[in-house]
């Protein structure tokens, strides 16, 4: 009887710590700054927010609530690790690329850099491997939001996907320099879909 009770308690504890979350809870968990998927740096008036987006999170966002698409979309997105770097100037609420701008030409040079060249200044260090960015998209806000984002995809080894990773961005437009963001990735919850 005693052993049975003990087993019941252990099972109860295990089910609580296993962190199985439904789609909405899962999304909220990833977006919660305290859970380790978001890392921030504020340097010299610029704020950089890096986010590790687990595969399930990316697929959930793509599904847009239609869970029947989940499996096929998961197949499409598998094989890569996804991250986002958002940036904004703390002193202004307009387009970040206008921060400390000298001329109109400089603005277009900045856009050109972020849309075409910044990809080469971002890399991921994971389990001793340096992985360069293979999927890159620069998302402009056109002044609607102070944030501009870089959406990043890295082809990593399947065995390393739950290992700690360091996202490195050599930021040169605002001359902030090398920015490093750590992600533990070892406490991700499991997504449950009914």
């Amino acid at each position: 009887m005693k052993i049975n009770s003990l087993l019941a308690v252990i099972l109860l504890l295990a089910s609580c710590s296993g962190k199985e979350l439904g789609p909405d809870e899962y999304t909220r968990w990833v977006e919660n700054k305290n859970n380790g998927c978001i890392s921030e740096k504020s340097i010299g008036g610029m704020q950089f927010t890096a986010m590790h987006k687990p595969l399930e999170y990316v697929v959930l966002k793509e599904c847009g609530g239609n869970m029947s698409l989940f499996d096929s979309l998961k197949g499409d997105f598998e094989g890569m690790e996804y991250y986002t770097i958002k940036m904004r100037a703390e002193s202004q609420n307009k387009d970040v690329l206008l921060h400390n701008i000298g001329s109109e030409q400089e603005y277009y040079e900045r856009i050109n850099y972020y849309t075409t060249n910044a990809q080469h200044d971002v890399y991921l260090v994971e389990a001793g491997d340096t992985i360069y960015c293979e999927l890159y998209h620069y998302e402009r806000s056109y002044g609607v939001s102070p944030y501009n984002s870089m959406l990043l995809g890295f082809k990593t080894r399947p065995g390393n996907r739950d290992k700690p990773a360091k996202l490195c961005f050599n930021e040169t437009v605002f001359n902030t320099g090398l920015l490093l963001f750590n992600f533990d990735k070892n406490n991700l919850p499991t997504l449950t879909i009914n």
């Binding site: 504020s42 001359n175 902030t176 320099g177 490093l180």
Partner: protein
């Protein structure tokens, strides 16, 4: 044992009030100060080491390029015959001088760019450290008399070096 009377309670309350007041005054008036060896901090900052290595690589590549141009010109000079060839050698020498100047300027620019990056990140982490540890004054010493004397217990150099490097390596505040 007799129960404390009203007077005793009043005295105890007054003592407590005075103690709380003293504590609040102490908190308000007590300023926390610390000092740091700036040279040691700067040299131990990991970004500085990373960029120093990067700078050395670029400088060496440019030097190799200008050295190999100089060697080529000196060989050309030894083999040059007639005014046309000597004129060409002269042109190449001028071009080399132009390139060497350009490299020197580019090296200087790169050094400035890297120094700014180090300064920006270091200043931010120092500020974050002071705010986190509620330090009111953080004095920087270069060992040249800017801080005439400070007791060793106020020296936070090692702690700050550890903090700035962990922050640089990607740890959150």
């Amino acid at each position: 044992m007799a129960k404390p009377d009203k007077k005793t309670w009043l005295i105890a309350g007054a003592v407590l009030l005075v103690a709380a007041g003293c504590f609040l005054m102490y908190q308000k008036l007590h300023l926390k100060a610390a000092y740091v060896d700036q040279v040691q901090l700067f040299n131990a900052f990991r970004l500085k080491k990373v960029l120093e290595t990067e700078y050395q690589k670029v400088e060496n590549l440019r030097k190799q390029q200008s050295d190999s141009m100089a060697l080529g010109i000196s060989l050309m000079q030894q083999q040059a015959r007639g005014p046309q060839q000597l004129g060409y050698v002269q042109q190449q020498k001028e071009y080399l001088a132009y390139k060497q100047n350009e490299f020197a300027e580019m090296n200087e620019q790169l050094k400035m760019q890297y120094n700014e990056q180090i300064r920006k990140q270091l200043n931010q982490y120092i500020k974050d450290y002071a705010l986190k540890n509620k330090v009111d004054f953080l004095l920087g010493s270069t060992g040249e008399g800017d801080v005439l004397f400070a007791a060793e217990r106020f020296d936070v150099t090692k702690e700050l070096i550890h903090y700035v490097n962990t922050r640089f390596e990607g740890e959150n505040k």
